[in-house]
């Protein structure tokens, strides 16, 4: 599904340049469950951003189903993020002005889903995640675990092919983190591709594939049984 060739990312800070990613080569197949690991500042988030077309590499090529991503117009990139990718962030990143259900409905409005249809689907997703009594609550009224579940529902709203999760359990107590992880694994077993950044070795071990990044390079990779 995704092929990365010689991806490099450099941040230009004026006097110094930081090479956040260096010579990344990687293939991600449909249905993969990939854990991205590595020390702080190694470039994991940078990698995930480039993968999610939230940022661009300074050199190298990124093929999505044989399309070179950077050659696509902005509008098309936005459409890919909207319809094919789902994002889960460490700090949830819900809109504090919108209720849980409105947060989940928002990406569907970009996809052109009618109001009633998107409301129904958002309700179903939140119900599936055990939030059926929290539909009209603002994020500030929800616990961290609940917020992250709303964020997952939002990521799932347009039935994505790939979920990109940057330390999704990082801000949660371990039992709530476990719930989130189980949810992602359930999705993966339904055929959704998952790429997850994590610091937690135990979590990483549960993924089917692991890559370990250090100083912007893939130090080692491993395919689990």
């Amino acid at each position: 599904m995704i092929r990365l060739e010689n991806i490099e990312k450099e941040f230009d800070l004026g006097q110094i340049k930081i090479k956040a990613l260096d010579n990344i080569n990687l293939t991600i197949n449909r249905g993969d469950y990939l854990a991205v690991m590595g020390p702080s500042g190694s470039g994991k988030s940078t990698f995930l951003n480039i993968l999610g077309i939230l940022d661009f590499s300074t050199s190298g090529q990124y093929f999505l189903e044989d399309y070179e991503i950077s050659s696509l117009p902005d509008k098309e990139q936005a459409r890919i993020r909207n319809k094919h990718f789902g994002f889960v962030f460490q700090s949830f990143n819900l809109f504090s002005e919108l209720s849980a259900i409105e947060n989940v409905m928002l990406p569907m409005s970009y996809a052109g889903v009618k109001y009633n249809a998107r409301k129904k689907r958002a309700g179903e997703l939140l119900d599936w995640l055990g939030l059926n009594d929290r539909l009209y609550h603002l994020p500030s009224m929800l616990s961290g675990g609940e917020q992250q579940r709303v964020a997952i529902a939002r990521a799932l709203s347009n039935d994505p092919d790939l979920i990109l999760a940057d330390e999704p359990t990082g801000n949660l107590p371990s039992d709530k983190g476990e719930e989130i992880l189980e949810t992602l694994e359930k999705l993966n077993s339904n055929g959704v591709t998952i790429v997850m950044v994590t610091h937690n070795d135990a979590q990483g071990d549960r993924a089917h594939k692991r890559i370990h990044i250090k100083d912007g390079k893939i130090e080692w990779r491993k395919v689990c049984a």
């Binding site: 940022d55 700090s91 928002l106 347009n158």
Partner: protein
């Protein structure tokens, strides 16, 4: 169609900060209001100045006696007996020696009281014999109008009617030309009094005043001594119930006047005024009309404004010869008015600078608030992009927001501008705001808001979502 969640987000973020939003709207509104009304003020003053500069008044050279040179009626008691210089209609002859004078006329302010004033010695019906006798005396007719009151020998003003029969010198303040029968047939006028001018014929030519019925005064009217009256169009309509004035007779103080003309409407103050002839008093005798002649000012119209000063000098030569050097005061209203208008122009410039500074301050503040508002929303915008918003979509939604604030500000600003212009109009008596200027103001402010918000919106919409999301 239901409102979309991203629009909901925008609306709630505006509503969530009511003070900031109101400040933004007020900032724009005050900026627009100040500038538009500032420009409206300038526009008005300029057009007023144009109007004044082209008016007849600006072509005048005014000649008066020392005492009345300021154009005000002064108390008769202040006129010393040895300074009994009185200018009369005859002095208009000065023009003969000055070819540049186009018109020469007398234009004296006075005030007329209309109506069935009780005649002395008569009852309300006016059927007393003493009025009968005065009819024979038509030629020695007395007109009592205006502020002039009979004086006694010591120069004191008589405020009470003088009792008794006419004195030997023929001075008779109760003189009337009204016949008792005529009096009963007179209609009661609807208007009790009116401002008036005592004028000579060329006054009408100078101001371009024409009669719609009857005619304006001729040289004959000045000499013939018939009590005739010309009315401004509005006054004519007001005086009689049926609004027909021409040819009618009306009592003015103790005399009966015939309305010999009604002027065409001019849209000026003349519409509400009356005109009576400035006749030549017999200064040698005891003609009571010598009182009327006090305060007479002679006006000479010079078409070519650049000739005003030299014409003034020529006219001065005539009067110096006639009355002795320096006894007559000659002034050019234009020069005096220009000084006033110069001062106004400086004031207006200051006001304009203030209102433009108001706009600038508004621009700076609005830009600041908008930029900081957008900065705060960077993260939200980054998330929106991650969720599938294109750069264009973000830009459009930011512009919608700006448009909303801009429109609210422009509307409020227009209201402020209209109110300020009304105040300007009422206090300066000018023609009020100009709709075109308002439209222009709203248009300019719309452009201004678009530019002011557009530049930061454009920059922020281009940001990579990863960058935006990093903001915590």
């Amino acid at each position: 169609m239901r409102i979309k969640e991203d629009q909901l987000l925008m609306i709630r973020s505006i509503k969530g900060r009511p003070v900031e939003s109101i400040l933004l709207i007020l900032g724009i509104a005050l900026g627009i209001g100040a500038t538009v009304s500032g420009f409206a003020l300038v526009n008005q003053s300029l057009s007023e100045a144009d109007k004044l500069l082209s008016s007849t008044y600006y072509h005048e050279i005014v000649v008066g006696t020392r005492q009345n040179s300021d154009g005000m009626d002064i108390a008769a008691s202040l006129v010393s007996d040895d300074n009994n210089l009185i200018l009369t209609v005859n002095d208009l002859a000065a023009r003969k020696e000055v070819p540049d004078v186009k018109y020469a006329y007398v234009m004296n302010r006075t005030h007329l009281r209309f109506g069935n004033m009780r005649l002395p010695g008569s009852d309300n019906n006016g059927t007393n014999t003493s009025t009968q006798g005065s009819v024979n005396n038509q030629n020695n007719r007395t007109i009592v109008t205006g502020n002039f009151q009979p004086r006694d020998a010591t120069g004191n003003t008589n405020t009470e009617a003088m009792p008794g029969p006419p004195s030997d010198d023929g001075f008779d303040p109760f003189h009337t030309n009204i016949d008792a029968d005529e009096l009963t047939s007179l209609e009661e006028p609807q208007v009790e009094e009116a401002d008036a001018y005592r004028v000579t014929p060329e006054f009408f030519s100078a101001y371009g005043l024409n009669a719609v019925s009857g005619s304006v005064f001729s040289e004959q009217d000045i000499k013939s001594d018939t009590p005739s009256l010309i009315l401004g169009s509005k006054l004519a309509k007001k005086i009689f119930e049926d609004a027909i004035a021409y040819g009618r007779k009306i009592q003015v103080m103790r005399d009966l006047y015939t309305i010999t003309g009604v002027l065409a409407e001019t849209g000026t103050a003349f519409d509400n005024e009356a005109f009576i002839p400035a006749v030549v008093p017999d200064l040698s005798g005891n003609d009571f009309r010598r009182f009327e002649a006090w305060g007479t000012t002679l006006r000479f119209i010079v078409q070519d404004l650049s000739r005003l000063t030299s014409v003034k000098a020529q006219i001065a030569t005539y009067f110096d010869k006639e009355y002795g050097e320096g006894n007559v005061d000659i002034s050019i209203p234009k020069v005096e008015a220009e000084a006033v208008s110069d001062r106004n122009l400086r004031l207006i410039t200051v006001i304009l600078i203030l209102s433009i500074s108001g706009l600038l301050i508004a621009i700076v503040n609005v830009t600041n608030i908008l930029v900081s508002r957008m900065e705060r929303r960077r993260k939200s915008l980054g998330i929106l992009k991650a969720l599938g918003a294109s750069t264009n979509k973000i830009l459009i939604s930011l512009e919608y927001e700006a448009l909303f604030i801009g429109v609210c500000g422009a509307l409020t600003g227009t209201v402020i501008a209209v109110v300020l212009s009304e105040i300007i109009k009422n206090s300066l008596g000018t023609s009020g705001y100009n709709a075109l200027i308002l439209v222009l103001g709203v248009f300019i402010s719309w452009i201004f808001t678009m530019v002011v918000t557009g530049i930061p919106a454009f920059q922020i919409s281009k940001i990579a979502p990863s960058e935006a999301i990093r903001y915590e």
